[in-house]
Subunit: 295 residues, 2 copies
C-alpha cells in the first residue's frame, strides 16, 4: 500500500516512540523507570490482543509493565481493591483498565476510581473535564490525541477547516470535537458531529475538508460521500465475516478504503493508521505521568 | 413584545421555580433549608447586578443565601481559604464564585477548589467531565441547561435537527454542543460549532433548524443568516453605547431581534429569554445539591 496520499500511522508512531525513548532515558538517568499497569477482566479475545500489543510496545521502550488478570466473575469491589493498590503503588505511574468489563461491573465507577494522575487512558471525568476546558494539565484520551498528532505531523491545516466527525462516543467522537474546535495548534476548526440520528449524513460528509470516521460501521464511508481532496481519518475497527480468511473473519475500518483512497487528499490506512497512534499516545501519557509524579 | 413566536423565558423560569417551591417545602418539612453561598471579589458593576438577582430569587424561593464580598486585591490563597470554609459548612449546599475574578487569581484553580457536590455553577472539571460523558450525577452549567429547558418546554423537536452553535466557550458553546448531540430527551441533534475562525458562518447559520447564538458579538445574527421558520436562541449579553439611554449604554443580545423575529419559527427575546433561565437552573442545582447532601 504505497500510495502517495497515505498517512502512515506506523511511521509516525515510531517517530513519537523515538522521542519518548529519549525522555525515558532521561528518567532512568535519575533512577526512575516509568511503570504501566494493565488490568484485564475475563478472557475477551480482542482485549487480550490489545493488551498484548501495549505490553509489547512498553517492553520495547523500557517501560515497566505488569498485567493483572482477574476472572470474568470478579466483583466490582474486588476490582476497586486492585485499583486502590495500584493507585498507591509508587512504581506504577499509569493504570489502564481494558474495556469491555463484565456486566456486573459499572464502567463509570471503575474509570472514576483510577487516580486522575495515573489515568493514562484519559477516561476519568476529571481528565475529560480538563480536556473540554482546554486545560492541558490532564491526560487526553489516546485515540483522539493520536488523530490530532497524525494531522499535525502530516501537515494537515485544521485552522478554519470544515471537520465532520462521524460518531458521538465518549472515547472518540466527543473528545475529538472538543479538541478540534479549540483555539490553538492543530485545532481552530469548524466541527460538526454526526451520528445515527443525523438526517443527511452524506451531505455533511461531502462538505468536509477533514472527515473523521468513528461510527463503528464497517466501510460506511463510500467514495460518493467524500469531497475530492479531503483528508479522511479512519478510526473504525469492525470485525466482518470473511470466508477466505483462516479465522473466518477480518478487521475493516469505517471507510471503504479501496474506493475512497483514489479521491482523498490524504487518508489513513486501516490497519496501520490510527491504531498504532493510540498505543504511542498511551506510552506518551505514561512517560508524562512518570515525569510529573517524580519531578 | 407579544409576538406569537416568542419563547418566554420569564414564564418558563417561573414555572420551574414553582416546581422548585414544592421540593423546597419537602426539604423544609424534614428540617433542611437549602443554602447557597455567593462569593464576589471586587466591585465589578455587572457582577453586583448578577449576584443581586440571584440573591433575590433565592430569597423568594426560601433558599438561604449569603454573600461574601472580598476586596479587589484579595490573594488566591485568601479566596481558597474562604472556599474551604464554605466547602466544610453543612448549611451551605451550593457555592457560586461570580466571574470575572481579578487578574492575580487563577480562575481554573478557584473553580476546581469548590467541592464538586457544591459546584452548582457546573464549572468544576469533574462536573464538566460528567456532562461530556453523559453522566447525570454531576451538575450541568446553568446557561446551556437553561437553553435545553427552554427547548423542551417550548416543544421544540431536537431529535435529528440541524443545530448550529455560534461560540465555543467553556460556559455555553462547548457544553451546549455536548448536551445537544447526546442521545436522549431534548437532544439527538446534529451539532455544528462555529466560531471566529469559521470560514462561511452565514452558510452554516442558514442551514440551521435551531440556531444558538453565544458568541458575544452584539446583534451578530441578521435576518439573512436565518432560515425561515428556524428556532433562534439568543444567549448573548453585550453592552453597547446608547446616547438615548440615561446610563449612556444598553444591553443587547447576539441576535438582531427586530429583523430576525418576523422570520423565526420561535425566538427568545433578550432580555427575558435565556437570562431568567440561568437563574432558575442555578436554583434547581442548589435544591438538588441540598437533596443529595441530606438524603
Amino acid at each position: 500500500m504505497a500510495f502517495a496520499n497515505l498517512i502512515d500511522g506506523r511511521a509516525i508512531a515510531a517517530q513519537i516512540q523515538g522521542e519518548l525513548s529519549q525522555r525515558i532515558a532521561a528518567l532512568k538517568a535519575r533512577g526512575v523507570q516509568p511503570g504501566l499497569a494493565f488490568v484485564r477482566v475475563g478472557e475477551d479475545a480482542a482485549s487480550k490482543v490489545y493488551v498484548g500489543r501495549k505490553e509489547k510496545t512498553s517492553g520495547e521502550l523500557g517501560i515497566h509493565s505488569e498485567t493483572h488478570v482477574l476472572p470474568e466473575a470478579t466483583s466490582e469491589t474486588d476490582l476497586l481493591e486492585l485499583i486502590a493498590k495500584l493507585n498507591a503503588d509508587s512504581r506504577v505511574h499509569g493504570i489502564l483498565v481494558q474495556a469491555p468489563l463484565p456486566k456486573q461491573i459499572r464502567q463509570e465507577i471503575i474509570y472514576a476510581s483510577v487516580r486522575p494522575e495515573k489515568d493514562v487512558d484519559g477516561f476519568h471525568p476529571m481528565n475529560v473535564g480538563k480536556l473540554m476546558l482546554g486545560d492541558d494539565t490532564g491526560f487526553k484520551p489516546c485515540t483522539p490525541a493520536g488523530v490530532m498528532e497524525l494531522l499535525v505531523r502530516s501537515g494537515v491545516k485544521t485552522d478554519g477547516a470544515e471537520v465532520v466527525i462521524l460518531g458521538r462516543g465518549n472515547i472518540v467522537g466527543k473528545p475529538m470535537a472538543a479538541m478540534l474546535c479549540q483555539k490553538g495548534r492543530a485545532a481552530n476548526a469548524t466541527v460538526t458531529i454526526c451520528h445515527s440520528a443525523t438526517r443527511d449524513i452524506k451531505a455533511h460528509c461531502r462538505r468536509a475538508d477533514i472527515l473523521i470516521a468513528a461510527m463503528g460501521v464497517a466501510e460506511f464511508v463510500k467514495a460518493d460521500m467524500v469531497k475530492p481532496g479531503a483528508v479522511v481519518m479512519d478510526v473504525g475497527v469492525n470485525r466482518v465475516a470473511d470466508a477466505a480468511s483462516k479465522s473466518g473473519s477480518r478487521l475493516v475500518g469505517d471507510v471503504a478504503f479501496a474506493e475512497v483512497q483514489p479521491i482523498a487528499g490524504k487518508i489513513t490506512p486501516n490497519p496501520g493508521g490510527v491504531g498504532p497512534m493510540t498505543i504511542a499516545m498511551l506510552m506518551q501519557n505514561t512517560v508524562r505521568a512518570a515525569e510529573v509524579a517524580t519531578k
